[in-house]
Subunit: 389 residues, 4 copies
């Protein structure tokens, strides 16, 4: 490695743990062009932020993100706070000349996302890089799916089905968290997990969604307020609050090629824990990726002899699969957090190589526009709405 | 058995073979209240109809369906012709005092289906029975799924996903058959297979679809005309014709309980051969039925301890599963055509017991109204449309 | 069809039902060279045999098998009695000039099987055909597996794993049936289901087992005697009897190519209902057949590019798959009893074509020798024992 | 944490990478009672060991393991060298008063393993801990399987099937590595992967194997010598060498309860990449663990109503599953190397709590005795051989 990359992370919840693991582990397995230094983590509360620094291995902690991004000894700002704060922090960081990695969704509104994208464009002109964290693109099986499509192995895309299903809100007494508050989260299942389905479907197919027709809906209107946070959820307090985001979203999108894609996002699908599944069907083949079996890819080669047609289960653990070479021997599985190491690899490579990393803020803005179009369609009796890119 | 039931079958294509197998095999395994007699098969062409009679074991053949339904020695008229002829034959048969079993879809239009339903109601008053052939209800795993829902094992239904996916039209040079001609088939994937998805989702949940928003679309506009029929397809002639039906249909339905259901019907989904899948998610559990593994049911009991939650694969081959007792020992599989024996059992039981068989013509009309509403929604920019029951 | 084939069936239990279904259904779907006539069924008890004749569609019933095989109007004797009676009936039938189809296992001992094979050889010289009923060879996916091996698609066979697992004897209070009585059944899991695993592994690989090392064992020594038969089991009487057959059998076999094959037969494997599974691994590929998903075959082509390797799930329901052409369209499943129609096709074809049907009595004798060798090895501290073909 | 635990690792191949990851990551997720310090890594070659230290994050490197274990600033010796060196290093380290973690197999021979176990017993008396690295015990689904058995959820164990299948030696031109050299590796598939199958089957069932009957065999006698190492394999040189270990091992074991267990280890099973699968069948249930889907456990509760019986797929990612609480939310997968963090947790907990960690050297010796008994049985015509514990 020819130099270091000093990182400041803003926020330290679930995503902070995942990002920390990425910064720590990536340099052990990949020959990064720049050596990440876990410089400082920043949060609102002094004690908990200091504890997070100790736990996740950051050299320092701070409670002032503006101070953090002003530091000379910080090269990268890694934003893992709730979506309502992304715009302010990211724009300030870019203007301060820091490379920015921002968790998804890029923002809670199209307007914020546009401002961020503008800021990224201005920064880009000065050699400053910005990337949004749709990490599932970097699960090797998903990356490999994209390359199969790009190589023409499934022919022209004819239909897509993408769904992201969870069930952790099934219990109507599960408490309100910031993820159920529109002011903090922007939207519910739609933005939290539907955003992943949109990004992954577009990433794998190499296409974009031009218009949508859909519906979003809240199934449980009122919940206990959050007592103490535990993991993604927590304990219930005696008071109740109003759920202001959607619980489920169903929509159909028109891809730029004209093909139709069907989407579903729900945190109400009993028995599905983290079921992000994308199926792509084309004129010469088909494939399916499922995050609950993230080391596998189903691939169907329609050009095989009729008697030998079938979906094959590829274990995406070979040396020549994306990102796999430095990890373990064939058949040794990767887990959820490995994508964060791959993200560090790609981001540091882009910074060192002076290239534009993907997914860019413009990519994140586009996803935000799709989500916004879904909400507008839902409000308009499910009429088709342009995503207005 | 206390008497016989003399059957006339109108039509003798793929469905004629399946129905013949039902009439022949059912009395060997079930104690039917009436003994079916395969009296006469009726078709348009003399030679091919006579050949069908010999092949499928009908005592006689005829080319005049009016004459057939007028016969004194016919108790039941079993209609397996394309949908454009259902109304005329079924109404005439009911008026002639014959019990009628009519293949799905009930008709090619709501108007025809209404007329048929009216005729069935008039006949019912005279003790004449009418049933529509949504045979997949009688796959034991599907019937068992309905009983789990009815018994409250999955609680209140919160979400449904139903899809019927095939790929036999992927090849743009596959020839036009009557199934691609709106005049004969009414619609394309929507009526051919989407109808099954609608009926099965409603059957399993015990609910009906009140309104829909959706889109139907033709992917291949023009195809070679059909030369010689082979199975469901055939050889291509040199001339070409215009495809007048949809290839794919995506729609969302609102169930009478308020829950949303997502549907997809396609004969363009590469690698899916006969993939009718219905997933039902409720407050206490979930289940999934898949016709490509028709002897299995996936069931998730959300009331299990957290560490033991999981979809279980039930082999629906136990003595106490629906329809299973007279068949083979546990673990010995049933196939596609067994549903037609179960249909014969249920239909003859209804006739002998003077009860109303289900799915009734009214059920068939309702499905037709759902399909019609999907087409109307598609034409109205996917706005929500009432099914107008 | 150019003539008829008049069939007498001896026995009418579970296997009688399956064979009856084969004789009735096969001529409806296949163009048989000879038209089967279900002439007479023969049993021990007058009333139950007459009832079986009525139920399964045999023209007459009889309680004297010797009389039956002496009839001029009988061309084929189909033996579906317990194994202890096979030799006497089959030899007499062959000597009476009748073609014989005998259920597996061919006999309860090697000596009996040898006598039967000798009788079949003598009969063969006079144009009389004999076949043993290893019907699972005729499940299309199993037949297709054999053709893949024969075509070199998996290269040289290196390893085989075959298991037949059920759990219907798990309950120690499940009553004694003839299948638990050595005098009637010859052996337990070994002969009842292990025989199928042996035959199917040999059939798919095209190889034979030369020697074995293994162990057989009885897990439950004593059970209630059988009260009334119900299906494969029945009610328990108050008296108890001694189980005289094995419950489980584990053995390793050496194939004639030198490759090793691992076998397990058990009616004590909790949760496995009818799990006959054969995995074959070769230098260029691998495959796996599982009777609980009998319409599927798993196939692995090791010559694919490294990144695209994977077991594919072939739905064996295509027109060009073995036996499939006259059945239903692609994706419409077959069940357990379809193999019996295929057996009728192959047997009548052999008779009409004056060729030797397979599996022959010699094939059945070979399986018996393997089973016998397993028992001898078990008695000899699991030393390797030649099968002595 | 109340103190530190200074670790020296001897060896730095594939296993060294995995162990390093465990030492680095465990303290970030678990509240360890002692804080590991990655003090020194020791290898044969100066440059490569220094490179390993840098890559995997060890403070120092050394080429003299005797010097390393003599250091005052080393508390733990972690041995990840080939099996032929384990005994010498481990005994010396224990005698030097260091806690020892030794990769499996414990040794290449029973005699060595006995000496190591004696040394561990002597050290234990002085408060020094020794553990052997059968890490797959610490895959949460495997640990959970053991607890289900211990809790009686499957009743009395009646049958076990354990197999560890890979295919990376299928190619007869794959070069010789130390894993194919009996002097270095002790045995082939048997010790390399069969050892895992033995340990995991015993761990899950809570039983031990008393006697075995089996066969081991070499399928490819001669291979190119190794040029340059790459991952588990490498490039082929022009010279050839003799393979002195087994390629496949098939054996049956008798558990101390009397139940039989069937084993297979093979690096020749086409299409199986890292397929360690253990199935346990009991009087009240059954379960199956498969390393290729390591976040899942199949569980069958035989006490469910007959119509609801079925293997359920439990996603072992819940907060209350073993080891899961500090990792990610439900449905976020773990990978191969997480077991090494769990190993660090358990080992440091034992050291801090002055308890004996498992698997102990005695456990490792027992596995070695089973492997040895398999080889002796193979040499004795597969007769049954006591494991002589």
């Amino acid at each position: 490695m020819t130099g270091t990359l000093r990182v400041a992370m803003i926020g330290h919840g679930f995503m902070g743990a995942a990002h920390s693991q990425g910064w720590r582990v990536a340099p052990r397995f990949f020959d990064l062009p720049l050596d990440p230094v876990m410089q400082v983590v920043t949060g609102r509360d002094d004690a908990t932020t200091a504890a997070a620094a100790a736990k996740w291995g950051w050299a320092e902690s701070s409670t002032d993100w503006r101070e953090t991004i002003a530091r000379d000894d910080v090269d990268v700002v890694d934003i893992v706070t709730p979506g309502d704060t992304h715009a302010e922090i990211a724009i300030a960081a870019l203007e301060a000349g820091k490379h920015v990695l921002c968790e998804k969704p890029l923002a809670n509104s199209v307007a914020e996302a546009e401002a961020m994208t503008d800021a990224a464009a201005r920064a880009e002109a000065r050699g400053i890089r910005a990337m949004v964290g749709f990490t599932y693109r970097r699960v090797p099986a998903a990356t490999f799916a994209r390359s199969l499509v790009a190589d023409g192995r499934i022919g022209e895309v004819r239909q897509v089905r993408a769904e992201y299903l969870q069930d952790w809100l099934m219990d109507p007494e599960a408490p309100m968290t910031w993820r159920l508050d529109r002011a903090k989260a922007g939207s519910g299942s739609l933005g939290d997990i539907g955003a992943h389905a949109v990004d992954l479907a577009e990433f794998i197919t190499g296409q974009t969604i031009d218009s949508v027709s859909g519906i979003v809906e809240t199934l449980v209107d009122e919940r206990p307020l959050l007592g103490e946070s535990v993991g993604l959820s927590g304990t219930a307090s005696a008071e109740r609050g109003r759920v202001t985001v959607d619980d489920v979203a169903f929509f159909t999108g028109r891809l730029n090629s004209g093909a139709l894609a069907s989407f579903e996002a729900s945190r109400y699908r009993t028995g599905r824990k983290n079921a992000l599944r994308v199926e792509v069907s084309g004129t010469r083949g088909a494939l399916a990726f499922d995050l609950e079996r993230l080391n596998e890819l189903e691939f169907y080669d329609a050009t095989a002899p009729e008697t030998e047609l079938g979906f094959r289960r590829i274990l995406v653990t070979e040396h020549d699969h994306p990102y796999l070479a430095p990890w373990w021997p064939t058949g040794h599985m990767l887990g959820y957090e490995h994508g964060f190491s791959h993200q560090v690899l790609d981001f540091t490579t882009a910074i060192a190589g002076a290239s534009s990393p993907r997914p860019s803020f413009a990519d994140g803005l586009h996803v935000q526009r799709v989500l916004d179009a879904v909400e507008r369609s839902s409000a308009a009796d499910s009429r088709w709405v342009q995503t207005n890119d």
